[in-house]
């Protein structure tokens, strides 16, 4: 029997999207283990292909979102995640996981602050693929995901930095309109290796077509990637893209 690549999903106090994210990873082919941050050490990463940071409100978003999770992670494994990436490992952060990856400095420099609306926003958003990425290869150029966050506005030290991210492909996905005030409408970032990726919207909440908010769309439209697999939503294709990239690089 073919061995499945291992995914490790880090769970902080306040993480609350771990179960559905683990489900998505299992559905596309990963062997997935949810590990509390208290049990993390450098050996935990042995044999792991993907480190996953899912959504939620780690440490109650105290101080600022992702800040305390970053400090505790650094305290636990130091430079372990950088070594993991340098040795070919993949990291994916969704929503709060994206906030933590930016705080850890594993993604291009940026910070996720309060939406310009000043409110928690829970809505579906249209997104555009802006660059090639192992996480997006099976997705069409435009797709939809649900988002749910209060602090999802990506800001950089200067507006020019964000423009450079668009030009260089570091801003791998953008919103198709200004939903939260993110510079350059950036929804997600990738690092130079392409193996570290984070974004605010939630692909794990659109794993199946039936998860879509519009009954007309989910009952009639062809699937987003056009592969003929009618039951899958766009989120499936993000996780499947990742799986195929991981298995082809192993």
């Amino acid at each position: 029997m073919e061995e499945r690549p291992r995914a490790l999903l880090l769970k902080f106090p306040g993480t609350n999207c771990d179960e559905e994210t683990a489900r998505a990873l299992k559905v596309v082919g990963f062997s997935t283990e949810i590990v509390p941050i208290s049990a993390l050490n450098t050996e935990t990463l042995d044999g792991v292909s993907l480190v996953m940071l899912s959504g939620g409100f780690s440490y109650g978003d105290y101080v600022m979102s992702g800040r305390l999770a970053r400090l505790v992670t650094e305290q636990k494994i130091g430079a372990g995640l950088r070594e993991f990436r340098d040795n070919g490992g993949y990291l994916l952060g969704i929503c709060n996981g994206f906030q933590i990856l930016t705080q850890l400095g594993l993604l291009p420099e940026g910070s996720l602050v309060e939406n310009t609306s000043g409110r928690f926003q829970c809505q579906w958003v249209k997104m555009k693929k802006q660059a090639d990425s192992p996480f997006l290869s099976l997705l069409p150029d435009e797709f939809e995901f649900p988002m749910a966050h209060a602090e999802g506005r990506l800001v950089t030290m200067s507006a020019e930095d964000a423009r450079k991210y668009r030009e260089s492909g570091a801003a791998a996905v953008t919103y198709d309109q200004d939903v939260n005030g993110s510079f350059e409408q950036i929804a997600g970032l990738q690092d130079e290796t392409g193996r570290v990726f984070g974004m605010m919207p939630h692909p794990e909440r659109f794993l199946y077509r039936e998860d879509h908010y519009d009954p007309d769309w989910k009952n009639s439209a062809p699937d987003s990637a056009g592969s003929g697999e009618e039951k899958w939503g766009s989120g499936y294709y993000l996780f499947r893209s990742l799986y195929e990239s991981v298995t082809s690089s192993n």
Partner: protein, 150 residues
Amino acid sequence: MRKTFEISDRFIEAGDANELLYEPLGGDLTFRRTRRYEIDFEGEENNLVSFVEKTLRDPISQDLKKGEDSAFTAFAFVLEYGMKPGALDLEKEAILSYYRGIENLGFELKELNIRQRIYLFGNSGDESDRFIRDICNYAIHNWSVILGEK
């Protein structure tokens, strides 16, 4: 020794103060929020400042003001509030838990007092009672009001 730090957000502009109230006040009051940390410590001050900058401030999106002076001026009034002594302050506990996990910091943290500040800007009489009523919880918070210079 005691040091005070106040952290404000660089990218969040002043919002309509009516958003803080159950019933709109009318007028043109706007607000900004900050977090203020009063720290009693022993040891090397530079190490404390380094800890605060690393732990409590985001270098991209936040400004850090050291000392007693307010982060903003020209305000109508400021509502400062925080947890009463004895009430569980989860932010404080999370910070202290992180602090206790690090060795050889070069200072000893004796006391940490966290206060939220809401700066109100605009032409107003003393409307602070309305904000106290709608923002503070009498069971767990204590508060004070600082009036701006006329």
